[in-house]
C-alpha cells in the first residue's frame, strides 16, 4: 500500500516556524536589526503599521516589523492580535488638530494663509533618482535650522467655515434615530460589529485602519470617473497633538500622550440642493503617524461615501458604502484570501462526486442523441485508454466552457 496517512502535523508546524525564524534572521555574520533602527530608519513603515494595526505604539510596531520579516500587512495583523487582548480603560477627549504642533502643512487652495505653507520633510519635490551614495554607510545628513515658532495655526477649512462657505461638520449622528450622541457613545469599531448603513463615526474608523492600497485604488478610481469627485486639497497637516483623558474618578483632564497624526481635509464643490445652499463639502482623512498618501486617499473616499447624504447618484464602487467598508480591512482580507491554503478535500470530494455524476448523465444524453460514427469511435478510443483504471469516470469530455458547470460557491 503506497498511501501513507498524513501524520505529524505538530512536528511539521514546529519545523516550519523554526525555519522561518532562521531565514528571517539571515546570515549570522550580518548584524541583527535593532528595534531602534527600525523605529528611526524605517519610520514610515512603522507609521503604516500603527495606522493599520490601529495601535499607537511605535516600539511594538517595530517589533512586529522585525518579527514579520518586513511584511507590513503581517505586522499590522500582529499588532491587531495583540491590541485586542488589552483592557479598555478610558476613551480620550476628542483631539484638537487645530492645536497641532506642525511638522508639515500644505494647502493647495490658497497661495498664502495665516501660518503659511510648511513643506517639512517630504518626497514631493525630490527627484526620484537612486542615490548611490546612500549605499555606502556612515553618511552624515545634518538637518537644516528650523524657523517655526510652534504657535498653533488655524485650520484652513475653518477660514472657509467663518464665511459659511463650507458645510459644517455635525455632531455624530446615528443613521437611524438621528439622535445626537455623547462622546462616550461614539461607535467603537474595535468592540462592536460593523453595522450597515454605518454612521459616519463607524465609517471613518473603518477607513482610518483600512488597507492603504485598497483606499488608494478606490480614491484613484473616483478621480477617473467611477464616482463623482472634484476635490481640492484644502489642507494637509502633520504634527503632534496631545491625547487627553478625563477619568470620572478624578474629575479633571490629564494629558497622557503626544501622538503624531496626519490630517487631510479635501474640499469639494457642491452645487446645493433644495434644502442646502451651494457650498463646499468636505472629505476627511486622519491617520496615526505620517501617512500622507493614505490620509489623502481616505479623505477622497470619505467624500465619495457621502454621496447619499448630499443626494448624489451612487455610480462607482468608491461611493458604495457596503462595498468599501466590507472589503477595506487587510487583516480580514489577507486571512480569507489565504485560507484557501487550508485543506478543502472534503468539499472537493463532494464536488468530484457531483461532477462525475453530471458527466455521466451528460454522456448518456449525448450518446442517445449523437450517432455519428466519428464521435462514437473517439469515445471508444478514450474508453480503452482508461480501461484499467476503473475509478476514473468514463470518457467524452464536454467542451471546457460547456454550460453544465455546476454552481460553484467559493469554498471556505
Amino acid at each position: 500500500m503506497s498511501y501513507v496517512a498524513v501524520k505529524g502535523g505538530a512536528k511539521a508546524i514546529a519545523n516550519s516556524e523554526a525555519l522561518l525564524q532562521a531565514q528571517r534572521r539571515g546570515e549570522q555574520t550580518v548584524p541583527e536589526l535593532s528595534l531602534e533602527q527600525i523605529k528611526q530608519q524605517m519610520a514610515l513603515a512603522v507609521d503604516r503599521v500603527i495606522s493599520e494595526g490601529s495601535l499607537y505604539d511605535r516600539d511594538l510596531a517595530a517589533l512586529a516589523i522585525k518579527q514579520s520579516w518586513g511584511d507590513l500587512v503581517e505586522a499590522a495583523f500582529l499588532l491587531r492580535a495583540y491590541r485586542t487582548t488589552l483592557p479598555r480603560f478610558y476613551y480620550s477627549q476628542p483631539v484638537d488638530t487645530g492645536q497641532m504642533q506642525l511638522q508639515r502643512r500644505i494647502s493647495s487652495i490658497f497661495k498664502d494663509l495665516p501660518g503659511g505653507q510648511q513643506l517639512g520633510a517630504s518626497f514631493d519635490y525630490i527627484h526620484r533618482l537612486l542615490d548611490f551614495k546612500l549605499a555606502a554607510e556612515d553618511n552624515q545628513f545634518p538637518a537644516p535650522e528650523s524657523e517655526t515658532d510652534n504657535q498653533p495655526v488655524p485650520r484652513v477649512v475653518d477660514v472657509l467655515g467663518k464665511e459659511g462657505l463650507i458645510q459644517a461638520e455635525n455632531p455624530i449622528q446615528q443613521p437611524n434615530n438621528g439622535a445626537t450622541q455623547s462622546e462616550e457613545n461614539v461607535f467603537d469599531l474595535t468592540r462592536q460589529p460593523q453595522q450597515l448603513p454605518a454612521g459616519r463615526d463607524a465609517r471613518l474608523q473603518n477607513l482610518a485602519r483600512a488597507d492603504e492600497g485598497f483606499l488608494l485604488s478606490l480614491a484613484y478610481s473616483s478621480q477617473r470617473g467611477y464616482g463623482n469627485s472634484h476635490p481640492f486639497a484644502g489642507e494637509i497637516r502633520v504634527g503632534q497633538v496631545e491625547v487627553v483623558i478625563c477619568p470620572e474618578e478624578l474629575g479633571f483632564e490629564v494629558a497622557i500622550a503626544s501622538i503624531t497624526l496626519t490630517e487631510v481635509q479635501m474640499v469639494n464643490q457642491f452645487k446645493g440642493s433644495s434644502a442646502i445652499p451651494p457650498q463646499f463639502t468636505r472629505g476627511y482623512g486622519l491617520t496615526f503617524g505620517y501617512n500622507e498618501r493614505k490620509a489623502m486617499a481616505m479623505a477622497l473616499v470619505d467624500r465619495c461615501l457621502r454621496a447619499e447624504e448630499f443626494g448624489e447618484t451612487v455610480q462607482g464602487p468608491a461611493q458604495d458604502e457596503e462595498f468599501v467598508l466590507s472589503h477595506s480591512d487587510n487583516v480580514a482580507a489577507q486571512g480569507f484570501v489565504q485560507h484557501l491554503k487550508l485543506p478543502h478535500y472534503i468539499d472537493f470530494q463532494a464536488e468530484l462526486n457531483l461532477v462525475r455524476k453530471l458527466r455521466q448523465e451528460y454522456q448518456q444524453s449525448n450518446q442517445a442523441t449523437q450517432s455519428t460514427e466519428v464521435e462514437i469511435k473517439q469515445a471508444e478510443n478514450f474508453d480503452s485508454a482508461n480501461i484499467e483504471n476503473n475509478s476514473v469516470p468514463t470518457p467524452i469530455s464536454p467542451p471546457l466552457d460547456h454550460p453544465t458547470t455546476p454552481h460553484h460557491s467559493p469554498t471556505p
Binding site: A10, F336, Y345, D347, Q349, L354, N389, S391, P403, H407
Partner: protein, 281 residues
Amino acid sequence: MTSLTQNFNFAYLDEQTKRTIRRTLLKAIAIPGHQIPFGSREMPLSYGWGTGGMQVTAAVIGQDDVFKVIDQGADDTTNAVNIRRFFEKVCGVETTESTSAATLIQTRHRIPETPLQEGQIMVYQVPIPEPLRWLEPSEVETRKMHALSEYGPMYVRLYEDITQFGQIATAYDYPVMVNQRYLMRPSPIPRFDNPKLNMSPAIQLFGAGREKRIYAVPPYTEVKSLDFEDYPFQVETWDKACEFCGSTESYLDEVVTDNDGGRLWICSDTDFCRSRGKREE
C-alpha cells in the same frame, strides 16, 4: 511558549469579551438559525482560519472540558493540530481524538460519524454565514430577506439547477431551514452530513469571526435540507468501502495513490475509522 499561558487569560480572550460572546450565544440559541452580530476580535490566527469557531470555543470552554478538534473529519490535519495546540496552550484542558469522550468539539467541514450525545457541544467554523450571499451580495438586503422570510430566490435557484442539470447541484454548504423559520448555511460540510444536523441531541454553535456573526441550533431542533416534493433531498453514496476499516456508510475520501490514476477510498473521520479497527495496515 509557556509564557503564553502566563501572559494571557484562560482561553486567551479576556472575561469581558467572553461574556459578550456568551450573551450572543444565548440569543442565538433562543432564535435558532438566526445570525447574531457580535464584536468579533482579532485572534492570533488569521481571519478565515477558524477565528469564529475559536472565539465561540473560548467563550464556552471550561477547565473540565475534554476538547476535540477536527478539520476535514481528521484530528491530524495541520489546521486541527494547530487549533488544538492553541487551546492546550491557553487553557491546559484535556484533549481527545475520541468523539464520544469529547465534551466540546470544534470542527471544520465535517460532522463526526459517531452520533453526538446530549451534553456535547459542537462548534462549527463558518466562513460565510449568509445563505443568501451568492444570490444577493448586499448585507442590508439579505437581512431584510430573512426578516420577511423571503426565501423564494433560493428555491428558484434550486429549481434552476434541476432544469439545467436534472438535480440540485450543490455538493456542500447545502442550505437548510431551521425550526421552520430561518434559512441557514450549515457551514461547508458535505451534504452527506446535513441529516446529522436534524434533531441532534447536542448543542450546535456556529461562529463566523471575519463576518462577525454567531448562530446556533439548540438540541432537538428540526433542521430540514431544502428540497422539492418530487425532488427529495438526497445524500451521496459510494460504491466503495473504506480501505482501512471496510465501512460503507461513512463519508469516504478519495486518495490518489500513483500517477496512473490509481485510487483508494478511506474514511474522512479518522476517529470513526480507528474505532472500527483497522482491517489492513
